[in-house]
Each structure stands twice: as structure tokens, then as C-alpha cells.
């Protein structure tokens, strides 16, 4: 499959590991830049270089292994998150991936490191990772981890690929830890922040553009008792809010106790979805004028303000990531071991990596 002659990148959609490996080997040999695409929903991060090759992962889609008794599923990286979660829900299980995924794929969610709204209770995407299979920039097919819910066999490669934007290799298969879904679920809309403290560890507590929603699950007895204690407007089941959309999308990350403070500091006109207890605030805006001030505050409290997507790639003079993280040298050395020609998604990571 080739792109239009003379203009635009070449499009490839391999369906087997050998072809994927060959594509990457060739790209490395010719130093051609590869952009990896799952559902195409998270292509705004960082300052990517223009690609010579666009690698579509839709050919690696579907369940490879799933025994509900083992609480694990092995799945192709190109599998849409919505498809996976809907299948798992049929047996009352969840992979605890983002609740409103749109077209996102499992591999895309992992590579960009985004997490579920249930993360304060069930933790983020890193905690789902049990095994990863990937092809390195120079075409080596490797595996890390194992297909059991607990293992410490060697270095934790499965965790390292989360948020690595493909820099260690193109993920084509993962084994995820699942969570069983209890029989009862309810959503309670509360009036003030303090009321949320009446339940010790709810499934999720989010601020959806000013509407405070507590998500509960458990035995019917537990859900009924917690709902009553919260004392708001109770509805059965969960209707999860989507991340706000706009010309700019942001990810504001702060220590958990500052989540409410962070929401108050959002500039006028910014929309938000804040995950209390996690310090994870997703926001959107039509302009970026107030972003530098907000970033200064966030970095001052040990957090970050990340531009998830903006009207022009690379942030148009405003660094999408902000202050460079510690250990850039070691990050470069690690990546050089996996993608020596640095052809997979270069420029996506902080520090121009």
C-alpha cells in the first residue's frame, strides 16, 4: 500500500508481525520517520516530525486469549477500546481503560499513557499491564512480562511502554489485568466537595464542568448505604462524562489534594473534567493565552500542564510538555537501545526526544 506518488507519506497497514518487523527494519535502514496510528485520536502530543511512513495498526485487532476465570485478557494493540470493554462487560469484567474512548485503540491508550476516570480507586493504565509484545525500531520482536496477574520476571518492560509513545517499539499485543464488575452501580450528584468525604473510597469522584459526580459500585447493600450517606441526587448505573473538547486540549497534573484548587485556578472559559483523588484534570480552551501562568503554578507544586492537542503541531512556540523531566540522558540512552535510528514517532516525548 503506497501513498500518492510524489506527495504525502506512504501508508502501511501490516497484518502480521513479520511484515511489521520488515517495515520497521526498512524504515530504520533508510532513516524514514514512522508515525504509528491506532484510532488516530491522540496524535496531538509533543512536537512530532513529519512522517515518511504512516503505520496503521488496525490489522492487529481482536482477542487472542481470554479466560474470565484468570482475570486476564490478551489482545491485539489495534483493538478498539470500546470493542474490548463491551465484550468484557458481557462477563461482568472491565480492563479499566478510559470510559469514553471514541475510536481509541488499546495500543494508542497505552502508548499515550492516558487513564480511566476510575484511577483514584483502581489506578491508571500502567497497573493494567501484564505482558507486552513489540517490534523495536530496528525490527526485533520482543516480549516482556507474562500472562498472569502477578509476575516479577525481569525488568518491567510492560510498565515502561505506557506513555512512551512507541519510542521503545511498536506495540502489537498486550496482556491486561482485568477487574470484575460487582452487581450494583449508582451515580450520585452532590452539592459540595466536602460531602464526597462521607464515602471513604468511591469508584470515582469527578468534577464534570462544575457538576460533582460520585460513582459507586459494589453489592446492592453497599451501594444503597453509600448513596444514602452521600445524600444527593441518585441515579442507577454509570454514565461516564467525556473529556472536554476544544481548539486546545490540556492535561493538568497536580498532587491529589490540590485537584479542587487546580479547578479553581483554571482560566475563564476553560472547560474541565477533574478526577478527584488523582490530581488528573482534563481541560479544553479556545485559546492558550492563560496557559503559561497556569503551567507556572502547576510546575511550582510539582505537577505539569501538558498540551494534549492544539491548532498547530508542536505547540506553536509553547512547549507542549513544559519543564523537561529529570533523567533525559538516561531516557535517550534507553531509547537508543530500542530504536537506534530513532524512527518511531520522534519528537513526541519531552525534551524533543
Amino acid at each position: 500500500m503506497t501513498g500518492a506518488a510524489g506527495g504525502g507519506p506512504e501508508h502501511l497497514a501490516p497484518t502480521d508481525v513479520d511484515t511489521l518487523g520488515e517495515s520497521l527494519r526498512q524504515a530504520s535502514a533508510e532513516r524514514r520517520i514512522v508515525q504509528v496510528v491506532g484510532g488516530g485520536t491522540r496524535q496531538g502530543y509533543g512536537s512530532p516530525l513529519p512522517p515518511d511512513v504512516v503505520l496503521h495498526m488496525s490489522g492487529f485487532s481482536g482477542i487472542e486469549e481470554w479466560d474470565p476465570d484468570d482475570l486476564t485478557v490478551t489482545v491485539g494493540a489495534g483493538t478498539p477500546v470500546a470493542e474490548l470493554e463491551s465484550l468484557l462487560a458481557g462477563r461482568s469484567q472491565t480492563a479499566v481503560l478510559p470510559e469514553v474512548p471514541g475510536e481509541s485503540t488499546v495500543g494508542g491508550v497505552i502508548a499515550s499513557g492516558v487513564s480511566s476516570l476510575r484511577r483514584a480507586r483502581l489506578l491508571g493504565t500502567r497497573e493494567r499491564m501484564l505482558e507486552v509484545r513489540l517490534v523495536t525500531g530496528d525490527g526485533r520482536v520482543i516480549r516482556g512480562g507474562g500472562r498472569v496477574v502477578k509476575n516479577v520476571s525481569g525488568y518491567d518492560l510492560p510498565r515502561l511502554v505506557v506513555g512512551a509513545f512507541g519510542s521503545l517499539g511498536v506495540i502489537y499485543s498486550v496482556c491486561l489485568k482485568l477487574w470484575p464488575m460487582p452487581p450494583a452501580a449508582a451515580t450520585v450528584i452532590i452539592e459540595d466537595l466536602d460531602a464526597a468525604g462521607r464515602v471513604t473510597r468511591p469508584l470515582a469522584f469527578v468534577d464534570d464542568d462544575g457538576v460533582l459526580k460520585v460513582f459507586l459500585w459494589g453489592t446492592p447493600e453497599e451501594v444503597a448505604a453509600s448513596s444514602a450517606r452521600l445524600g444527593g441526587v441518585i441515579s442507577e448505573g454509570h454514565r461516564w462524562p467525556a473529556d472536554p473538547q476544544g481548539r486546545y486540549r490540556w492535561s493538568l497534573r497536580v498532587p491529589p489534594a490540590l485537584t479542587g484548587d487546580a479547578v479553581k485556578r483554571l482560566p475563564d472559559g476553560w472547560r474541565h473534567l477533574a478526577v478527584h483523588g488523582a490530581g488528573d484534570i482534563r481541560a479544553s480552551s479556545e485559546d492558550a493565552g492563560a496557559a503559561p501562568g497556569l503551567r507556572d503554578w502547576a510546575e511550582g507544586v510539582g505537577g505539569a500542564l501538558v498540551m494534549v492537542t492544539g491548532p498547530s503541531p508542536g505547540g506553536d512556540g509553547f512547549d507542549p510538555w513544559g519543564r523537561p523531566p529529570p533523567g533525559l540522558d538516561i531516557q535517550r540512552r534507553l531509547i537508543a537501545q530500542f530504536d537506534p535510528a530513532r524512527v518511531i514517532n520522534p519528537g513526541r516525548l519531552p525534551g524533543g526526544i
Binding site: D67, D69, D70, G113, S115, L123, E127, R140, V141, I142, G144, G146, R147, V148, V149, K150, N151, V152, S153, Y155, D156, L157, R159, L160, V162, G163, A164, S167, W179, P182, P183, T200, R201, T219, E221, E222, A224, A225, S226, S251, R253, P255, P256, A257, D280, V301, G302, G303, A304, V306, W321, P325, G327, I330, R333, I335, A336, Q337, L349, G351
Partner: protein
């Protein structure tokens, strides 16, 4: 740089630090006790200057020989780095690597908080050791192992570079170096402090003991409980031999005529634990539970847990030596794996006792024996390797929570391809090109085309001053 009282060089002292809780031993050139990160940096620089390895060590409770200085070198004890700094609002704490696991929870208790990972050795093992091994424990079924609780690390890398990785805010940009260092068994650098997540102490708890005529009744109860949407705080099974050994030692009133006992614990608000305990009781009875005891108070709960956490000590009462393996199988294959483990033990004429984290499929077959019997160690090792192989054949893992260390490094080839191991060795090389940090651990020799063989074992006199 370190005063003389913080460097041990006497033969008897060196002997003690040449081993951990495994059956292996090495040879320590000297033992140092730094108090600060700066002092660790100095030790790393001395080691590099003289080409000697560094083996960081907490309490030495590891069972996979991860802290054994097999190639000689400096044993760096973290036990003097024991500051705890709790941030109640954010439910986190910066903890020195030498802080004892249980001491952290004790310090957090007045704030209604605790540290969730609880290895059986929690009254001795250190946070640094937990980080090195990504340690688990009975309560990591619902809350995850150590890596799920580490938000940040301060680490001294090759060249003496100090990095503070991660933090209280989630998803700090860039590669998750912290997550890679957790579980790396001290082979990438020396962890001096960890920023850990603390959890609120649950308001209520119910601990149940169910006993069964058949092991499959206990494992089916575990599967059905989780299938019903409940992830208890703990689900632990002991077989009849282990129950008998514990009962003979502690006299806790355990049913020694049962084929298996299941210890289940649920935590949360009162109405939740009531309903969950009732659900487990019902599922247990459907699967043939003869009796269901519910601990009436904290004292009864403590007795039930003491039985579980003293299991290995109990075997030490009946046999001069024991050897404990740590492997994992998919939970659906627990019963058949246990049957094969019994069969392997019988073939080698060994006694095997079982106590395990049933919710995770994490087995701990324990062979009891007398090492003075000729040829015994050979039999124990061969039986152990077959047991691990039986787990791998069923899609399991080499280790669930004890690590690879020296003990299992050569078995890594049974689980991973050459390319997989090469990738692992490249991770190590990116951090530690000279092979200074805990050499010969985790990866089998020859995983990568570089070798640690040239590292010297001696350091000249006066290097510490």
C-alpha cells in the same frame, strides 16, 4: 568519607553479610552503612573508581539470593537511612530505603493511613528491599504489589548522578524510569528514598476461615467469589500438611482434618463487609465448605493471620531445612498444577507443604528436608526446577513476588527468548554500562555481548577515609 564505625571489614561480620535468606552465599569485601544520599553517591564513586561492584541490601530477607554478593564487592546496607515524612493531605510519604515495612504502617496509623504491601516478612523487611523486588504480600490481591504504591524514587545512578523521579502528581511526562527501577533488584542503581502512596485504614474488616474436604472446593470458592464481582482484600489457601504443621506449632484451633483451608478477608464500610462476608459464606457452602468461621474480634482475626504468616516458621519446627519456591499460574489451572507439584515431590521423595495467594494464582510450594542427608540438595533443586517448569508450561511466570536474583536467573531462558533477554540486558546496559550494580542478578550470563567478568573484587585499604 565514612567513619570507621560505619564500615565493617572483620571476617565474621563479612560472613554475615555474604548471605541473605536464600540458601546461597557469596563473599563481601566490606560492608558500609551510609546515612545520607550524598554518602551513597560517594560509595558509588569509590566503587567505580576501583572497579568493584555494589550490592545494596535492606534486611536480607530475600529468598532469591538477590542480595548475595556473589562476585564480592561492597555490600551497601540501607538500614541507617530511615526517615519517614508523611503528607497526610495527599496520603503519601517519603520513606528512607532502610525503613522497615511494618514501621511505616505504624508511623502512618495515627493519621488513619497504612502502607498496603505486606510481605510475610513485613516486621523485618525494608521499603528499599520491597522496591527492589516489587514485593507483594497477602493483601496485594486487591491493592497491587509494591510498584502500584511507589509514586516517586530518589536513586543514585552510575557516575553518582542523583535523580528524583516521579512525584505526587500523576503521569509525570517522559519515560517512567521509576516504574522500571521498581523490581530491578538493585541492578540499575541504589534507591535511597521512595515516595509511596498510603491508603486509608478501612473502617471495618471481616476475616473468614473456610475448610474443605477437597482442594478444588477452596479454589472454586475463590473463582466464584471473584466472578461474583468481589475482590476481597485477601484470599489465601493452605493445604492439609501446612495446616497441620501450623496447628502443631501455634495451636490456633485450625481444622487439621481438612484437605484445604481458605482464609478470606473483606474490608470496607460496615454494611459492605457484612454483605460481602455473607456472599463468600454462601459461595463457600455451595462449593462444599464444611464450616465457616468468622473472626469475632481483632484478637481472633490476629490468630487467623498469625497462622498464615507463620506458616514457614511452622515448617522450620518440623524439619531442619526448607526451600520455598515462588511461581504463578493462571488461576484456572491451580488445581492441576498443585497435583503435579505433589507428584513431583513424591517422585523425589520430598515433603511438600503448600500455602499460597489463591486470588493471584501465586504458589509457594515449600519443600522440607534435612540438608545433611547426602545428595539431598541436588534432589531439592531438581524437584524445584520441575515445579517451576510445570507452572511455566501452563502459561505461568517464574516468580510472582520474590524476584529472580541468582536463584532463578538461569531459568529465565525457559521463559524468554534470546532476543527478549537481550532487550532486558540492553535496559541494564543503558543504566549501568560498567556493571557496577548488583552484578550477576536477574539475567543469565551471556544475555548480552558484554561481560561483568573483569570487575575486580578487592578495594585498596583506606578507600573509605
Amino acid at each position: 568519607m565514612l567513619s570507621e564505625d560505619r564500615v565493617l571489614e572483620e571476617p565474621v561480620e563479612l560472613y554475615l553479610y555474604s548471605r541473605d535468606s536464600s540458601l546461597m552465599h557469596g563473599e563481601a569485601t566490606c560492608v558500609v552503612f551510609p546515612h545520607t544520599t550524598e554518602e551513597v553517591t560517594e560509595v558509588v564513586r569509590v566503587a567505580e573508581r576501583h572497579g568493584v561492584p555494589i550490592v545494596a541490601r535492606g534486611a536480607g530477607t530475600g529468598l532469591a539470593a538477590g542480595a548475595v554478593p556473589i562476585d564480592g564487592g561492597i555490600v551497601l546496607s540501607t538500614t541507617s537511612m530511615n526517615q519517614v515524612d508523611i503528607d497526610v493531605a495527599n496520603r503519601t510519604a517519603w520513606v528512607g530505603a532502610g525503613v522497615i515495612n511494618l514501621d511505616l504502617s505504624k508511623e502512618a496509623e495515627p493519621y488513619g493511613l497504612c502502607f498496603a504491601p505486606d510481605p510475610s516478612s513485613q516486621s523485618a523487611c525494608t521499603i528499599g528491599g520491597n522496591v527492589a523486588n516489587n514485593s507483594g504480600g497477602a493483601h496485594c490481591l486487591a491493592e497491587g504489589a509494591t510498584t502500584s504504591h511507589v509514586l516517586g524514587l530518589e536513586v543514585v545512578l552510575a557516575g553518582g548522578e542523583v535523580l528524583v523521579l516521579g512525584g505526587q502528581a500523576p503521569d509525570m511526562p517522559g519515560l517512567d524510569l521509576k516504574g522500571l527501577i521498581v523490581g530491578s533488584e538493585g541492578t540499575l542503581g541504589v534507591v535511597t528514598r521512595a515516595l509511596v502512596r498510603l491508603l486509608p485504614i478501612e473502617s471495618d474488616v471481616r476475616t473468614l476461615l473456610l475448610d474443605f474436604d477437597r482442594l478444588s472446593g477452596a479454589t472454586k470458592t475463590v473463582s466464584d467469589t471473584i466472578a461474583a464481582g468481589l475482590v476481597p482484600a485477601a484470599l489465601e489457601i493452605m493445604d492439609q500438611k501446612m495446616t497441620t504443621a501450623v496447628e502443631n506449632w501455634l495451636g490456633a484451633g485450625l481444622p487439621t482434618d481438612a484437605a484445604a483451608i481458605l482464609l478470606a478477608e473483606v474490608v470496607g464500610e460496615e454494611e459492605a463487609v457484612e454483605a460481602e462476608a455473607a456472599l463468600i459464606t454462601r459461595i463457600g457452602k455451595e462449593n462444599g465448605a464444611r464450616q465457616v468461621q468468622v473472626a469475632k474480634d481483632e484478637a481472633e482475626r490476629a490468630i487467623l493471620w498469625k497462622g498464615r504468616k507463620s506458616a514457614f516458621g511452622a515448617v522450620a519446627q518440623v524439619s531442619p531445612n526448607y526451600y520455598l519456591h515462588d511461581t504463578v499460574v493462571p488461576r484456572s489451572r491451580l488445581v492441576e498444577t498443585m497435583e503435579e507439584i505433589e507428584e513431583i515431590a513424591a517422585r523425589y521423595e520430598l515433603d511438600v507443604y503448600n500455602v499460597f495467594h489463591a486470588g493471584d494464582g501465586n504458589l509457594h510450594p515449600l519443600m522440607a528436608f534435612d540438608a545433611s542427608e547426602p545428595g539431598m540438595m541436588e534432589r531439592v533443586h531438581r524437584a524445584g526446577e520441575e515445579m517451576v517448569a510445570a507452572c511455566l508450561r501452563r502459561g505461568g511466570a517464574l516468580s510472582g513476588e520474590h524476584g529472580i536474583g541468582l536463584e532463578k536467573r538461569d531459568m529465565m531462558r525457559a521463559d524468554f527468548t534470546e532476543l527478549d533477554l537481550d532487550a532486558q540486558a540492553r535496559l541494564k546496559e543503558a543504566f549501568d554500562p560498567e556493571g557496577i550494580f548488583n552484578p550477576a542478578k536477574v539475567l543469565p550470563e551471556g544475555s548480552r555481548c558484554f561481560d561483568f567478568g573483569g570487575v575486580r573484587r578487592e578495594i585498596p585499604d583506606g578507600a573509605w577515609l
